[in-house]
Amino acid sequence: MTILGIDLGTTNSAMAYVKNGQPEIIVNARGERTTPSVFQRNVSGELVVGSVAKNQYASLPEQTVLEVKRKMGNAEAIHIGESSYLPEEISAHFLKYLKQSAEDFLGEKVTEAVITVPAYFSDAQRKATKIAGEIAGLKVERILNEPTAAAIAYGYEHQGDEKNIVVYDLGGGTFDVSVVRLDGAQIEVKASAGDNHLGGMDFDRLLVDWLAEQFADQYEVPLFSFGEEVEITQRHARVKLEAENVKKTLSSAQTATFHLPFLAVYEGQPISLDYTITRDEFDDLIGSSIRMTLAHTDKVIVDAGLSVSQIDDVILIGGATRIPLVQQLVEHKFQKTAKKDINPDEAVALGAAVQGEMNNEAFTDETSLMVIDVCPYTLGTDILRVVKGKRESGHFDILIHRNEPLPAVAKKIYHTVNDNQETIDIGVYQGDDEDERVRDDLKITDEPIIVDGIPKNVAGAEKVEIAFHYDVNGLIQIEATILSTGRKITQALDVQRGIMSNRQVKEAKLTLFEDWEKSKLATEMKATIRRAKKIRRHAEPQQAIQIDEAIQHLERVIQEGEAELVKEKEERLLDLLMEIIE
């Protein structure tokens, strides 16, 4: 049984499996190695994902959801027309599409997967990702940190090495950096950091701005300020596409030219642009952003308790690491050549596939790796402190520090603050090591965990031990023990903000199945409708009307999702086409 490795990305997703002991990428139904993470209700009311949805985005912005990964774990529904979806339901559609593509590719059912998430993902975000998998009909074997997955892909090829490696991941819209310890067959993430809003798309924007500046210098008018709205939109689209090309060219050449013939007409004069940008100029544009990533890199090395000289290898992943300045600055920092032998767009999915296979019995001990992850954020509770003789609530008391290896267990003893106090409320919060106060938006528990049954006593006399257990999949369990009586209260944080109940998951599964069947039906009918439209072009006027009617009937029943009726209407349309051809 194949276990899929899935890189569920912010802008693109990828999937892989292990074939003959080697991880390999699986192409989607359109033959693409990566699938845009775009979800949409199209003009016919069908749900579509991937490139098709991305291609239609500019016309249907209100019916399209981009970058849903940023909203994972959030209970707020996303509205598309009259329907609303939770982020995990939308992610489930991506996963279902990938699952379906994998099944078509492999010719067998796929029911298990390892899904990757950013290292900084919270508990709720991880659970939401797991639920998305469940809705899509996948048993999620493991939620794996993305840098860990990349390190596995690397470690799989370099088994037996003992090294500290930095995984530098600069994608389209996000940056992550991690320090990973490779120790024989063991992989341990020591520390992670990053910037959620920095990536290659920012560099495209900078290039567009650069071009606009050159234009303004030459023509003394802003490039996107004249002409009709439609012209400006077209102009912007052309410049943006050219900026992407220029960026790619600059990865292999010292100069690149914005070649935009007949881009506009200004004061009756046709304007063709031919501006050449050198790699040095491009480097100046993006330099500050890249240096910012190096600041994060410094922080992560310190967090890992290491120095730059103790880093043995640097792995570059994410499409934007193809930019020479990125490679140059990273290599200069570490005084060594970065490893580029893994495809930067595919490393995470490949590593996830290897992790999936490790759980498979067929995998031999010699080829298996042991993975140790770290806690992506600091965890603690809110307590009351006496400051300058005054009681102050809302202080953040840390139990588990960021970057502690998983599984992690931490215990602390607290005491009552009032005479005859019979209950204690425990709130669980995320935060940073430096935080002194809890932040309500980082509270993990919707309702506090109530420890009751504390014997009546004077203030400070009763003690309660609180223990946080954090497992490898990022699941948290809280245990409170009243020390005087031995009474224990245990609560797994199942019902958290943004997490769906079992009933909701079941319902979402059913809805997804129905939506999927409907979309499948519509896709199957597309070829017939296209053929009908082709024949219509050469048909007599009366025949054209008949074809139009038959197409309309077919489209209407597709909307209703009744498979039998669709088949009936399709047959009727095909009969009509046959009659016309004959």
Partner: protein
């Protein structure tokens, strides 16, 4: 080279030469079109405006010249290959089939007609007992058709610029007509334009770059294409999209 290798080599040359021939036919047509456009520009504009537009027009001429640099058809290599096949003991059926294919191609080339692409390749693949690679076929078509397609883009951009410069409607229509004929020449590559204008938005074959208020195109339905900013193309024999149309739709 054994018989099988010879057949594979023949198949590679065959597709390349047919596509190269297609480029030559296309280029010849583009040159005729250039002459027409130059005449219209001279006729439509006066004084400084005429100079400006004729200068801009030189960019198109340069692009056509770049496309014209295609190697001549080399008949000798096929004759050599047939000799090798005979020497390697290829069956009479194989030698005859190749000779027939070659003669057919020479005939269509002389007549400037459409040379079939896929079917002869499949026949040779069968002879070589080799699977027909759709991927390699698509790659070759993509490679040879890219420049002609880009050239059509340049003509389209030029026409769009002229439109903004209050071009006479009759000239605009004629210009559109000759660009359409240039597009039709892509049939030599087995490629056709994706019909997009007036059609419902279809992300399989189109990329939207935005939408416009209904007032802009009152006779076009909501979510239907009211403007094609860049033409899209598909390979007719496989129905595969080579490049999506870039379109704008009605809000």
């Amino acid at each position: 080279m054994d018989v099988k290798q010879c057949l594979i080599q023949y198949r590679i040359w065959m597709l390349e030469d047919r596509l190269r021939h297609a480029t030559m036919v296309f280029c010849g047509y583009a040159k005729d079109v250039l002459q027409l456009i130059e005449q219209w520009l001279t006729y439509s504009f006066e004084d400084e405006q005429q100079t400006i537009w004729l200068d801009a027009f030189q960019l198109l001429r340069k692009k056509v010249q770049q496309l014209d640099q295609v190697a001549d058809y080399d008949d000798e290599k096929y004759i050599q290959l047939l000799r090798t096949l005979r020497a390697e003991g290829a069956s009479l059926a194989i030698v005859n089939t190749l000779q027939r294919e070659h003669q057919r191609f020479l005939y269509v080339m002389r007549k400037n007609e459409l040379a079939p692409l896929r079917e002869p390749l499949r026949r040779i693949a069968k002879l070589a007992n080799e699977p027909f690679s759709e991927r390699a076929y698509k790659q070759q078509i993509f490679y040879y058709s890219t420049k002609p397609i880009q050239l059509i883009d340049q003509f389209d951009y030029f026409a769009e610029s002229l439109r903004k410069a209050t071009m006479q409607q009759v000239i605009e229509e004629q210009l559109q007509l000759i660009i359409s004929q240039l597009v039709n020449q892509l049939a030599h590559f087995g490629i056709f334009e994706i019909r997009a204008l007036g059609q419902k938005l279809d992300g399989e074959r189109m990329i939207s770059i935005g939408s416009l208020p209904a007032s802009y195109a009152q006779n076009v339905e909501q979510h239907h294409v009211c403007k094609v900013y860049e033409r899209g193309y598909y390979i007719e024999e496989t129905q595969e999209v080579l490049r999506e149309s870039k379109v704008m739709t009605v809000m």
